[in-house]
């Protein structure tokens, strides 16, 4: 075994272990913040696997999109609504866990069988290295144009949804309930800091108009 191949094997083993253990942690840990951080670790390890497949552009894109954007936004959302509340007890939790565990195990078994039965072409096609960036660009603008553009439509829908959910004040009525939208948080008038008691003034002096404030 040469130095290069043994290094490769060690890296592959470490990255695979990181992906598997990290993914299990994401699902099984009770603390959602830990799950989110571990998800970032899983994304990074997957990027490492891409790097080992000589797909450096895909690896960098994976880090940028999944770690830098998706995972940061997940963490952002979790921390923004960092409310400690006790979950209501779910009836039959043990049974539900057994059922979902069985479904997952069945799926895992199916995938294992697929992985062992498929005649994998090893070694795969020659990696093209840095040429990959150009090749990806060509594909995105020719035969993969439609999926690429459809993904942007999906993002647009998500963005409009986010605006509708966050900016209730642009709509006069709540779209779900039909009631007038609550603008209390945004439009609430301030209580004056210094409450002026209207002076027992003589009728000749007009009292200051407090409503103008």
């Amino acid at each position: 075994m040469t130095i290069a191949s043994s290094t490769q094997f060690l890296c592959f083993a470490a990255l695979s272990a990181a992906v598997a253990i990290g993914a299990l942690g994401v699902v099984l840990l009770p603390n959602i913040v830990y799950s989110a951080f571990l998800l970032g670790g899983v994304f990074l390890s997957v990027a490492g696997l891409y790097l080992m497949l000589n797909a450096s552009f895909v690896a960098a894109a994976q880090v940028l999109v999944y770690v830098g954007a998706v995972n940061v936004l997940i963490l952002f959302a979790i921390m923004l609504v960092n409310k400690k509340e006790t979950m209501a007890a779910i009836p039959g939790l043990a049974l539900r866990r057994v059922l979902s565990g069985a479904v997952c195990a069945g799926l895992f078994g199916l995938l294992l069988r697929v992985a062992f039965i498929t005649p994998w072409a090893t070694p795969g096609p020659e990696p093209i290295g840095d040429e990959a960036t150009i090749r990806i660009g060509e594909h995105l603008f020719s035969d993969y144009l439609l999926p690429f553009e459809l993904a942007s439509v999906l993002l647009l829908m998500a963005m409009i949804g986010a605006i509708v959910l966050a900016r209730r004040d642009v709509l006069s009525a709540d779209i779900v309930t039909g009631e007038p939208a609550d603008q209390g948080l945004i439009e609430k008038s301030r209580t004056p800091l210094l409450l002026e008691t209207p002076a027992p003034a003589s009728p000749a002096v007009p009292t200051p108009v407090l409503e103008k404030r």
């Binding site: 040469t2 130095i3 290069a4 913040v33 951080f37 970032g40 990074l44 450096s56 552009f57 960098a60 894109a61 880090v63 940028l64 770690v67 830098g68 954007a69 995972n71 940061v72 936004l73 963490l75 952002f76 921390m79 923004l80 960092n82 290295g129 840095d130 960036t133």
Partner: protein, 390 residues
């Protein structure tokens, strides 16, 4: 670093002439080791850690210099003297600061999350140091000329906010959490115009590799630098780089008057030093990348080839190669530190923006301008391929 045995010079001479072959230390070094009877793979393995260690040392020394500059320049701006007792002109002051932080007690607050609290600063520093992988100081004077070059830096710099969020959350402190959230929001908003500004340069140079980007700017010396072709991109990139480094006009995540110190409120000792180190390494790195992308990288204002020709010397002569490489390193560092000086001056001149102004500037001003800049660059490239890289 630049002591080269005669046999290596001979080897460098035989290198195929591309643009300018320049000094290839790796080839020379492995040639020497193979001369001692090592296999090529083993020689490569011996070579690998050397540039990494060198760049790590360079980054830390760069931080020490920057901290000293920051203290001296801020003193000059405010008409003080600044540090003056530690070494001549206070030049050892940053070293003293660092040693002090090294000896300080490492405090983890009682209700904090110990694991995440420790991991946070590490996640902030590691991506920044990794990004030095792609900073070129010469044709072959960089750790690795990876094909995705500048894109690697962009993606690595997007890991940093996770470390900040982690530190903010683990501190179990309102101000820390707010600082972490602000850092993440700021980093996400300014990454997009930054990437678009870089994309315009990449469109002109047809490559993501930092070496190719610099090579595309050589030829006519100072006149061929990207800053003349990308003035708007240069300004956008510099503003966004300052925002990503959380330098003062944009240092909302650690705004002293509002958030105590943001995500680093609870930190002390070496963990605090890691944050500090990370932010200054990031500043030097950003300055280096501005000089690579827009100021011609290692290029001298007058092309070295012309100078060598005027003096009647061959560019491939060993001595000329050593001088060229030295000039390249000096030029890169000089340009970067001019930009660092400018950043420090900005820090002590302009006030901090508000969070809504920060987001408005990013999303409503820089993003549209960066998009238009990209469009105009692409149009100009098609219209005048001779000037804008065909």
């Amino acid at each position: 670093m630049l002591t080269i045995p005669a046999s290596a010079m001979a080897a460098a001479l035989q290198a195929p002439a591309l643009v300018t072959p320049g000094l290839d230390l790796e080839a020379s070094f492995t040639d020497v080791l193979e001369g001692f009877g090592l296999s090529p793979a083993a020689a490569h393995l011996v070579w690998l850690p050397l540039p990494m260690l060198l760049v790590l040392v360079a980054a830390v020394v760069g931080v020490l210099v920057t901290v000293w500059l920051e203290r001296k320049i801020s003193a000059a701006v405010q008409q003080r003297i600044g540090p003056e007792y530690a070494g001549a002109l206070g030049i050892l002051q940053p070293l003293a600061d660092g040693l002090k932080l090294l000896w300080k007690e490492d405090v983890i607050p009682a209700r904090a999350d110990g694991l995440l609290f420790t991991l946070g600063p590490v996640l902030v520093v590691v991506p920044v140091i990794l990004s030095w992988l792609v900073v070129p100081f010469g044709q072959h004077l960089l750790i690795s000329n990876v094909g995705v070059g500048i894109f690697l830096w962009i993606s690595l710099s997007s890991i940093q906010p996770i470390g900040l969020l982690m530190a903010g959350y683990a501190s179990n402190n309102k101000y820390s959490l707010l600082g972490g959230l602000r850092a993440a929001a700021q980093s996400i908003s300014y990454e997009i115009p930054l990437a678009l500004a870089v994309l315009a340069v990449v469109v002109m140079s047809n490559s993501l590799s930092t070496v190719d980007i610099v090579n595309q700017q050589t030829g006519a010396g100072i006149l061929s630098w990207n800053i003349w072709r990308q003035p708007v991109g240069f300004v956008i990139f510099w503003i966004c780089a300052l925002a990503e480094c959380e330098r003062l006009p944009f240092d909302l995540p650690e705004a002293e008057e509002e958030l105590v110190a943001g995500y680093q409120t609870e930190y002390a000792g070496m963990k605090f030093a890691l944050f500090y180190l990370g932010s200054y390494i990031n500043l030097v790195l950003s300055a280096l990348l501005v000089s690579v992308l827009y100021l011609g990288g290692w290029g001298f204002p007058i092309p070295v080839e012309w100078l060598a020709g005027a003096l009647g010397q061959s560019v491939d002569a060993p001595l000329v190669q050593v001088i060229t490489a030295s000039v390249g390193i000096v030029m890169t560092v000089l340009k970067a530190y001019l930009l660092v000086f400018f950043a420090i001056l900005l820090r002590w001149t302009v006030p901090r923006v508000r969070i809504d102004q920060l987001l408005d500037l990013g999303w409503k001003f820089l993003l549209p301008i960066a998009l238009v800049n990209l469009l105009v660059t692409a149009g100009l490239k098609l219209a005048f391929p001779a000037f804008f890289g065909g």
